[in-house]
Amino acid sequence: MQVVKKIEIITDTLEMNEVSAVLEAHGISGYTVIKDVTGKGERGVQSGDDLTDVFKNSYLLTTCAPEQVGEIVEAIRPLLKRRGGVCLISDAHWVVH
């Protein structure tokens, strides 16, 4: 098993395309997205009950090499700064197959 950093990003569904674009620009080729999760944060409740995607969040899970994590974080931070959201980093082991 290989040591990786696990990155979890939660932000507006409308924002996710930009997030994944940034990740791919930094060579992240694999990620998982859970669309339309609800939540609460500084910008209030995201109930996702209306017809726009304005109040819907999405959750993105990806991994990167430990040495790469700083670069990714710096690339994501401005997006979160502008539109809010959350980014969590943790340690994990990747099952090589």
Binding site: G44, D50, V54, F55
Partner: protein, 325 residues
């Protein structure tokens, strides 16, 4: 205003289901219309109203007055966000002002559809080109709002960031609801009576039923947002009730000036007086990130929409009746 009109509006099943939805929220019931069902109803309603409008247009053909009406609609959609922006600017930060201006410059398809069902209740005819007018009025306000935001003296950083015009145009003119509406209109126009014969049981017969389900959900959604009004303060609340009246008034005048029939006049005035909460919020969220959706969506959804559905329709109609006779 005329009591019969008030009643025939309030006793229209879709409006009653809207009340039922609001009631459910006030009673803290767990009644819910989970996604993507509301999305399904709105796809259905846009497809049906667009298609029926296209078929009517196919029958009526296009004449100079129709062209004038469409031009009038577009100019209204350009002027409203423009003047409201400067009203809003005096109390709100530039981002919010621009977003709210765009919201009120654009239109609410559901209010329009409720108006058509109100007219059918009253047996007042209206033209299929009014659907085209609605389609034309959805997008311009988005552009106007963003341009005004960009030209204002810089306050937020995103004002100076490069604007992705290409994205903006796409969000304005090719967003899902506009495209489905225009596409269905074109399909109705192409297939005419033949298409109508094939689709009427779907786009016509069950229309009011689906509208009831959709307004039930709208009642839930807008009542849930009402709690958000407290945070807004008096100015946005006053704006959300008064400006629709003013815009509807403008609309009636333009309609009178253009010599529209009473039915078309009501729809025209409803288009001017309604505020968007589907196409515009999504576009604003991306183009003006510092604008607070809790402001512009809440104003449109918790106040302007119910106001138009409950008070506006009979009020506007009675004004039109008195002017038109």
């Amino acid at each position: 205003m005329n009591l019969d009109l008030v009643l025939s509006n309030l006793l229209n099943p879709p409006v009653l289901f809207f009340f039922l939805g609001m009631l459910a929220v006030w009673l803290r019931s767990d009644l819910d219309v989970p996604q993507p069902l509301p999305k399904f109803f709105s796809l259905y309603l846009l497809l049906s109203i667009g298609f029926k409008g296209g078929v009517e247009l196919h029958k009526s053909g296009i004449n100079s007055q129709i062209v004038l009406t469409l031009l009038g609609a577009m100019s209204a959609a350009l002027l409203v966000p423009f003047y409201t922006f400067f009203v809003l600017r005096r109390k709100l930060p530039v981002g919010d002002a621009a977003a709210v201006a765009a919201t009120y410059g654009s239109v609410s398809a559901v209010t329009f559809i409720a108006a058509t069902s109100f007219l059918s209740e009253l047996k007042v005819p209206f033209g299929g080109h009014m659907v085209a007018a609605m389609a034309l009025m959805e997008s311009p306000a988005i552009i106007v709002g963003v341009v005004l935001f960009r030209l204002s003296p810089k306050s937020g950083e995103s004002q100076s960031e490069a604007l992705n015009w290409h994205h903006l145009m796409r969000d304005a003119f090719f967003n899902g609801s506009v495209l489905l509406l225009i596409g269905s209109l074109a399909i109705g126009l192409l297939t005419g009576e033949k298409g109508e014969a094939a689709l009427h049981p779907f786009t016509g017969d069950i229309f009011k039923g689906i509208l009831c389900l959709f307004l039930l959900d709208m009642g839930l959604v807008s009542a849930r947002r009402i709690s958000g009004l407290k945070k807004l303060g008096t100015f946005p609340i006053g704006f959300a009730v008064l400006v629709p009246l003013v815009n509807a008034g403008f609309g009636i005048l333009i309609a009178h000036f253009l010599g529209l029939g009473a039915g078309d006049a009501l729809l025209f005035c409803v288009l001017c007086g309604s505020a968007s909460y589907i196409a515009v919020p999504a576009a604003m969220r991306l183009a003006i990130p510092e604008a607070n959706p809790g402001l512009y969506v809440t104003m449109a959804l918790a106040l302007t929409f119910p106001f138009n559905i409950i008070v506006g329709l009979p009020l506007y109609m009675s004004v039109i009746n008195s002017l038109w006779r």
